[in-house]
Amino acid sequence: MIRPSRNHPGFWAFVAHRVSGVALALFLPLHFLALGLALESADALDRMLAVADSPAFKVAEWGLVTLLTIHLGAGLRVMVLEFLPWRDGRKGLIGLGAIAAVVVGTIFLLRVG
């Protein structure tokens, strides 16, 4: 159960920022290795892309695109808090980031489908 003292939007924004950051950092080497296949040949890259055409991969890709948007939004929020004069009502930023992530994720699903 979530500890009551943590249950506020700022903490959830942090959790989203951290989880997405770790996931992206783990994905990055795989992303680079996959693209590196083009060094061998365009065919090698195409074979990998064919494997990545499965529904499971599409879901994973959708997750990564959404996570990237979440990380971007959460990171911009942190920098707004740190570098711009403090104002109340900054919790709206969290909602904005969440909406951006949903929008980007939805567009991805629509276009990939």
Binding site: A38, A42, M79, F108
Partner: protein
Amino acid sequence: MTPARLFLAQRLTALILAPLVLVHLALILFAVEGGLSAAEILARTRGSVGWAAFYGLFVLVAAIHAPIGLRNVVHEHTGWRGRSLEVAMVALGLLLAGLGARAVIAVVAP
């Protein structure tokens, strides 16, 4: 590295990454329609100085940004501290930079 220097590096790379990620996301959403193919990707990138610079910078700043973030995660959620953690994170940064540079060369070299 002092905490202030790490902080500066993390926020500076974040500022550079923000617009790069926006372009990257836009390109993903544009390119993903109709499936990805090597021909399509490589036609865009091969021989392009612009994409070489874009992805080169992207890889470099990401290779700095990710280890600093992971260092905080490891520091706060595990007992791993000290010199060995610093060395491991530098190694991770070099690994990411190396793999990333290789990927950039793979897609932009004519």
